[in-house]
């Protein structure tokens, strides 16, 4: 009888094992029957051609495209407040700047302003406005509206908003209405990149009937009275928000859009669906719940989609960069030899190929490649230059037995694959035999706090551009007091002087030499070590067209189309 019982139990175990094996076999079978992913990268570069020019009229288009993202509007879609990637991107589709970028380039083209000029002293910029433009609710657009919008930014003065964030509050002195359709900005000092700032959402005009002078417009559920924008290609028709987290956003074509006669937007309705993480976004794309996945699929996902005929992978230059930061208050990182040794020992190919599967590019300057005035300044160190690194470490007093030991901290829940980056850095540095790295991680909010409290030694940060200009890749990292948001405590009078010059010079050959000096100085002092620069990637159904990914990082819904 005892035997009998054992039989029963073991029979059950056998059944369980068989079930598990069957499930496993099913998964294996299903995977092996899907088309194998190939390593060859089919670069489907930005197809900017619009459907009307490439197709015959017999093809019909869908009037709705569903976009999936893991982003979320962090607080509001008010240009006085929104200073996060997705909030800004929605404003770029619901609103319009005085000037804008030509899709696919960083060339500034007329938008709400038809022409502009700058005074000889470089301190007064005058814009001639497009006439007859109306907000979605019919409110006319004119110079008073522009002045109202800029004055409102000053009045609200949100410390965490975009206006103060890029320093517009210190750049602009006042706004002057010259006539109904002409407006001038008087600046405190000549600013070479003011036109780029004019294309930034902080200077987007808002609807005075929706946006009160002294208050940020919060969204409480009314799409008609709580969208301060209204000059862009789309209007907001539905926004499902729950507990500060987006669920779905519906946009529809703005009938009053100034460029509507040119056939924009291409697709009448845009639906944006929000996902908690890349895994759910990926699943939704595969299950057909979304047509386009943009920000943020994992490198593995993207690799899997390349070569899959059921999907189209779109890539564009990325202006997102990531870099290593030293806090010079933490010994021994006040020693330039130590910083340089680390800069030399880092192996970018390990990060690029192993962590990101080749989907990012190695970066040798804080100014990303492809941007004006970029110089590969950090190439002087090379990659995994162990001999040089060991030499520098010996000079600093370290050896195989007396190792340089420190903690590298990385954030979680904010950037992609930071654990892999940190591990790659650790492995490369420890190859010198003279460095021992401890890894630590903190959730993003704690991480920022620890940074501000000077508690971290070596850490990782990333940067998205506010406006497309080298200035935005130097000045924020290198404040005169060495604090800023990075807390490097790196202070160098020459650097401060060079950055001031870069701000006020508008001659491009002069700028080139100034930025070259800045980049070389960063390399030789190594307060920061650039690691890599991202590539913008979107994956869509093969029927989708019109995705333009360029250095501006603006995702333009109004160019999208999809065949039925």
């Amino acid at each position: 009888m005892k035997l009998k019982k054992r039989e029963a139990v073991s029979a059950a175990t056998v059944i369980a094992i068989i079930v598990i094996i069957l499930i496993a076999a099913l998964i294996v079978y299903l995977y092996t029957t899907t088309p194998q992913q190939t390593q060859t990268t089919t670069t489907s570069t930005s197809q900017t051609t619009s459907p009307t020019t490439t197709t015959t009229t017999s093809i019909s288009y869908r009037d709705k495209i569903v976009i999936g993202t893991t982003d979320s509007v962090q607080s509001t879609i008010d240009p006085a407040d929104a200073y996060d990637y997705f909030g800004d991107n929605i404003i770029q589709n619901l609103g319009e700047g005085l000037v804008n970028y030509r899709p696919g380039t960083t060339e500034i083209v007329p938008a709400l302003a038809t022409s502009w000029s700058v005074s000889p002293d470089g301190k007064t910029w005058t814009f001639n406005l497009r006439q007859g433009v109306k907000f979605a609710d019919g409110t006319p657009f004119n110079a008073t509206v522009v002045k109202y919008s800029i004055d409102r930014q000053f009045k609200i003065d949100e410390p965490e908003g975009p206006f103060a964030g890029v320093g517009l509050d210190t750049i602009i002195n006042r706004t002057v209405v010259n006539s109904q359709y002409q407006v001038s900005f008087v600046l405190n000092q000549p600013t070479s990149f003011f036109l780029s700032l004019a294309a930034f959402i902080a200077m987007y005009p808002v609807n005075p009937h929706v946006a009160p002078m002294d208050r940020i417009v919060n969204y409480t559920g009314n799409v008609n009275t709580e969208n301060p924008n209204g000059l862009g290609p789309y209007i907001l028709t539905n926004w499902v928000r729950s507990g500060g987290k987006d669920v779905e956003m519906d946009l529809t074509a703005n009938p009053n859009y100034w460029n509507a006669s040119a056939g924009y937007p291409k697709t009448k309705n845009i639906v944006i669906k929000f996902f908690t993480d890349s895994a759910s976004l990926n699943l939704a794309l595969q299950s057909g719940q979304v047509d386009i996945a943009y920000r943020q699929l994992s490198p593995t996902d993207i690799q899997a989609y390349q070569g899959n005929p059921n999907f189209k992978v779109w890539t564009g230059p990325g202006t997102f960069i990531q870099y290593l930061v030293f806090n010079e208050k933490q010994k021994p990182f006040d020693n330039v030899l130590v910083r340089k040794a680390i800069a030399a020992a880092i192996d970018r190919s390990l990060i690029v190929n192993t962590v990101f599967l080749g989907q990012v590019q190695p970066l040798y300057s804080m100014i990303p490649a492809g941007m004006q005035y970029h110089v590969d300044a950090f190439k002087v160190y090379g990659d995994a230059n162990l001999a040089y690194a060991e030499n520098l470490l010996q000079q600093a007093g370290y050896s195989q037995t007396n190792k340089l030991t420190f903690t590298l901290t990385y954030p979680t829940g904010h950037y992609q694959s930071t654990d892999g980056i940190a591990q790659a850095i650790k492995q490369a540095l420890e190859k010198t035999g003279m460095i021992s790295v401890n890894l630590a991680s903190e959730p993003w909010a704690n991480y920022k706090q620890s940074t501000s409290a000077d508690q971290l030694q070596v850490y990782i940060y990333g940067w998205y551009p506010d406006f497309v200009d080298p200035f935005d890749y130097t000045s924020p990292f290198l404040p005169a007091d060495g604090i800023g948001f990075l807390h490097t405590h790196y202070v160098n009078q020459n650097m401060t002087r060079l950055i001031q010059q870069a701000a006020s010079t508008s001659d491009s050959s002069q700028l080139a030499s100034i930025y070259q000096s800045i980049q070389q100085l960063i390399a030789s002092d190594a307060p920061l070590v650039p690691l890599f620069q991202g590539i913008s990637v979107a994956v869509s159904s093969p029927k989708v067209g019109g995705i333009v990914l360029d250095a501006t990082t603006i995702f333009r819904y109004w160019l999208l189309w999809e065949t039925a």
């Binding site: 995977y31 992913q37 699943l283 192993t354 829940g413 654990d419 892999g420 591990q423 790659a424 890894l439």
Partner: protein, 288 residues
């Protein structure tokens, strides 16, 4: 029914592995746990690679002779990660069990032995916490104090203290009036020695049942914390972390990462569940 009293040798042979109901479950459970713990302890000696080292193999390569469990997204060896991956999750669970047993049992003993209003108040507090979900409280505590093995263990422990308290209390109340305790009282033994010498030994098997359930739950809660990003640092080799991050690779075809790590978590929780089921059967043979 006759009550069995504690004797170490009898306990080992009869309670742990001895014949009787639920033996198959208990033996299976203990084997699983012994296997997993041994593997975790000797991981440095048996692991073929450094579990944290990236780029050991190609990324996301399926199981092959050189990488029997495949590799993950960074080209780390999954076999090594599986071998190492039990260390922290089991350590957290073990610490949690240790903490709440060493708080819950003495409180239960004292409170129920002393009785009166004190017992009533303590019971009320314990009852309030008893049905509270461990994950929620753990999320709350970790959100404030940050993640570490000890914080996670503490967070999980808080919710489980009442389980020990309740089982100890109900047993003590029934034992308290028994003759040999009365006899010990009369012979002038003090309260503490009665509690720990006479009462504690006779309730140890009930405590073991609670502890095994606690173990299984702690493992699942730890994995859950990993899943919502409040677990241990992600660079540690850990089953929960591999299962969480493996999910991001799953839809692209890397099933081996979640299959191996998920199975290990399941096995660990299953091992303890089997033991508790076995003991439950032994105590109540009807449910066989």
């Amino acid at each position: 029914m006759k009550r069995e009293y504690f004797s170490p040798s009898r306990f080992i042979f009869y309670s742990i592995l001895g014949r009787g109901y639920g033996r198959a479950f208990i033996v299976a459970g203990f084997s699983i746990i012994a296997f997993l713990s041994t593997m975790s302890i000797i991981a440095p000696f048996i692991s073929p690679h450094d579990p944290t080292k990236i780029g050991i193999g190609p990324s996301n390569s399926p199981p092959s002779p050189s990488f029997p469990f495949g590799t993950d997204q960074y080209g780390r060896d999954m076999l090594s990660r599986i071998i190492w991956g039990g260390r922290f999750i089991l350590l957290v669970a073990f610490t949690a069990v240790l903490i709440c047993a060493s708080i819950g049992v003495p409180i239960g003993l004292l409170s129920s032995y002393i009785g009166g209003n004190l017992d009533r108040s303590v019971s009320l507090i314990m009852d309030s916490v008893y049905s509270f979900p461990s994950l929620i409280l753990a999320v709350m505590i970790i959100s404030i104090y940050g993640t570490s093995v000890i914080n996670e263990a503490l967070a999980i422990a808080v919710v489980y203290i009442p389980s020990y308290f309740r089982v100890v209390r109900s047993q003590v109340l029934s034992i308290k009036e028994l003759q040999y305790v009365e006899a010990a009282k009369c012979s002038g033994a003090n309260t503490l020695s009665i509690l720990f010498k006479h009462i504690l030994p006779s309730i140890i098997s009930s405590i073991i049942v609670v502890a095994t359930v606690n173990f299984a739950d702690s493992i699942l809660t730890t994995a859950g914390l990993d899943f919502i990003g409040l677990g241990l640092p992600v660079n540690l080799p850990d089953w929960g972390i591999d299962l969480t991050y493996g999910r991001f690779e799953l839809a692209s075809g890397s099933w081996w990462v979640i299959l191996s790590s998920g199975t290990m978590i399941l096995l660990a929780a299953l091992g303890f569940s089997l033991i508790s089921e076995g003991y439950a059967e032994r105590q109540n043979p009807k449910i066989r």
